[in-house]
Amino acid sequence: MDAKSYAICFKPSSSALKRSNTTRNWYRVAKLEQLKTIGRELTKGSQGGFYQSKEFLDLVKSIGEARSKAEEDRIVLSEIETLKRRISEPDIPKRKMKEYIIRLVYVEMLGHDASFGYIHAVKMIHDDSLLVKRTGYLAVTLFLNEDHDLIILIVNTIQKDLKSDNYLVVCAALNAVCKLINEETIPAVLPQIVELLAHPKEAVRKKAIMALHRFYQKSPSSVSHLVSNFRKRLCDNDPGVMGATLCPLFDLITNDVNSYKDLVISFVSILKQVAERRLPKAYDYHQMPAPFIQIKLLKILALLGSSDKQASENMYTVVGDIFRKCDSSSNIGNAVLYECICCVSSIYPNPKLLESAADAISRFLKSDSHNLKYMGIDALGRLIKISPEIAEQHQLAVIDCLEDPDDTLKRKTFELLYKMTKSTNVEVIVDRMIDYMNSINDNHYKTEIASRCVELAEQFAPSNQWFIQTMNKVFEHAGDLVNIKVAHNLMRLIAEGFGEDDDTADSQLRSSAVESYLHILGEPKLPSVFLQVICWVLGEYGTADGKYSASYITGKLCDVAEAYSNDETVKAYAVTALMKIYAFEIAAGRKVDMLPECHSLMEEFLASHSTDLQQRAYELQAVIGLDAHAVESILPSDASCEDIEVDKALSFLNDYIQEAIEKGAQPYIPESERTGMLNISNFRNQDHHEASSHGLRFEAYELPKQTVQARIPPASLASTELVPVPEPMYPRESYQTTTVPSVSSDAASTELKLRLDGVQKRWGRQTHFPSTSTSNSTSLKTVNGITQVDGSNTANSRTRETYDSRKQVEISPEKQKLAASLFGGPSKTEKKSATGHKSSKPSSHMVKSHAPKSSMEVASEKTSVQQPPDLLDFGEPTVKSTAPSLDPFKDLEGLLEPTTQVSSAVNHSSTAAVTKSPDIMGLYTETTAGAHHKDSDILSGLSNPPMTNMVGGTTTMQVAQSSKGPNLKDSLEKDALVRQMGVTPSSQNPNLFKDILG
């Protein structure tokens, strides 16, 4: 038999060959013949060194003859075993090695793991022989991805090969570069690739451009400085290189049109030359002059001319020429024509070109070829954006395409319809879409078309009834594919109506929805999302128009809950709907008789494993037991659109808090106000804890405390508390030493103590923090425990963060300026501001900004007592100004008192919750932080926190004033007491005030 007799000629069209059974049988016979003749083929030797051995042949043959996938797998696995063994043998001839690698590639293509051979492929690229090297490169580009571990072994070889004298080696390396170089390795090869742009061989230049293009795709910044090279290569002598340059330029222009407007003229002139057949004959394809380059150029022009009249005007002539010259009998001619239409529809419109485009489209649509019809529909979709009227003349053709058995064409046509939908044709189009949606199984496309239906229906719905019906259809057939948002939209739409003030229309819409849903419920197996909508609507509006009785609707809802008993969401919707129905009944003063099936349902739900269902059931039970008035305020009818006002300040608790204060509760001090003081007190408190839990340590820590109390302003403690790292304190303290010589010894000791404190804190943190949380006597403590433990747990670090940011907000420019003038540097960081308060305090009072860090006030007041008169003078106005500074708020005091309590309540609850959920704390601090900005706007309802700030400030300032008495030791003791008191439960606080004020 002739060696070539088996050969089947390539036919240009697929349709020429029918894939009937007879053909298949004939093919099988032919294939066996083929295999028989392979031997002869082999002896002849395959062309040009692409040789495969008998073994490979046998492999292919046996795989070809395999009757099942399992058999094929067996063959391949044994092949893998053979290869594994052979490939690791020493001294394999290169040709054999090459064949093994090709076999590996083949095995991997069949879906089996060939990773054991990767390293051998990598070794092969190091070989000097071109044959082996090329095979190695081929294998690694197919095996490896750019992030594979072995790439590191390849980069070096690629670098070497890029410098090779043999251009084929360079080309092989460039192929690998395109596939294997990732963002990190780009710099390793980039300089050599740039050099190759000037290589004498055009094939190399072309590939180097492609490599750069690939780099641009992977990491645009890596080659951003090389863009000029692309522009230069556009003028390359070789048209092939110029054509290749169009690929990266297309990408570049897509991303940034405006930088390339200057190239419009060049592109137009290139296109003109191409169209006039100035390029070598070799570029012709099916008698078309370089059609692929034309297509690329037209794509680029479309981008450049988009909404740019001036640029577009340059293009009109050449595009018109191409329209005329295009040979519409060949496939490629039509490809260019199509690209022209795309270009025309993208650039600034020109009537003449539009006309030619419309002609071309009608030719496409009238053609028998499905390919051309497809392109025609696509082109029509582009052109109708500019001239909508041309769609009309193609109506019939479009309808034909819609009926076509070709799915691709059908979908394209639906896309076109989607684009040309108006309120006049929406009904037809959406109906068509839904019909088609029902006929297909492809979930991906079903989802897409369903969402399009919904979109169109929402946008153009002619009537409410139609809209509801359409949505019903979509949900019924593709409910589970539709985004849940669509369902929510539908519910909202039914609830809100169509936005008109016409209430009757809205209620009509609702009753029609209810009616249709009651009807649909009869159908089996509805999608979950749809059922949710149905339950919600029935619950909300089922009895609204009085057409259906409550027992009828509840019966239906019970049926739903029973029928879809494995869908908890639906059941939850159903229970809530039941609750609403009953609530409306009760509110209307009617007697509620629960249906027996409803009773049994409730019993089931009350014992449900789902806590959600259980809760809903209990709620229902509770609601039914209430009187009409209560029910109406819980579940007012038709109030789903009412905003639920969340009273974050919890003002309804005011009375309760007032009462508590009168009984002697401690008023609330916002977190921002109390940190300093509380830190100190907390410190104390911790000591107490330590005292109680670790008796031995108590002594060790108590000792430095005494000295602190005696001599050092507690502020230093406060500030160390504020500042997690105590070191930066020293310069400050030493500064103080220089300005206030009298306290210098104290300051020195402070330094020591500070150090100690730092140590203590570091040690203490681990030991006493748990004890704080376990003792949990007050929530305030917990907060401070948190502020102390920086970053050791997320919740804590979070509170600290919010605290910090708030602190920064508080530092007013005046304060900063003052701090700068006092300390010779801006007090920007929190550390600085913390210590800065010591001296900047007076100003802060004078500018009447809310009092910062109450306890520090106490402390700083005391320092100023110790300090020379000039500093005292500084302090004096403060004392005087305290009262007037509060004046603006005095009027509000009646109002303030309760709010303080309110916020303290809020804080208590929120701080208590801190340990459990940091989110609540975040919410709370957010509101306070936000409110701080609005300081001036004190009367606004939301600014409760700053008001309480003021109150907090007041009290502590009063503390400060009193503690500023003649006897320093006495005041310090008092202060210590204050701090101790501050920590212990609030009931003790009145004593504190009595003690200080009385």
Binding site: Y27, S46, R95, L110, H112, F292, N334, H370, K412
Partner: protein, 167 residues
Amino acid sequence: MIKAVMVMNTQGKPRLAKFFDYLPVEKQQELIRRVFGVLCSRPENVSNFIEAESIFGPDSRLVYNHFATLYFVVVFDSSENELAMLDYIQLLGQQTLERCFKNVCELDIVFNYSKIHTILDEIILGGQVLETRSTEIMRAVEEISKLEAATNAISFIPKSASSWLSR
């Protein structure tokens, strides 16, 4: 850009698969299977285009052509022209392979696996069509074969064998 080129026979057996963005082997297999599933459900006399978004993710189209016992499939995104892609397939299948193997058939592709890859590398690089002149492609491929044969002669394969091998 072009995302993948596949050649498979009418029974769904892959004959050549080249993905221009790396995909793990299993994924490649799955894609090939799904593509074949779509291809064999296509009726006669329909267009050569398929919207492939459900298989290859957003912005992907597929053009295929059916030559004898083989499907040639190209997957690409919206920056390419469908009709032009069809012509690339023609260029690869009809013109270049025909020139290489005379009456080309499925087995030519199987047995000249590495040669087909070489040809494909000449036409498409990094997902972009680089060369559209089949004469030029042929010239490059022949040059490579010649050089490989030459380097082959230097290797330590017995002279008799190498002369036997290179026709």
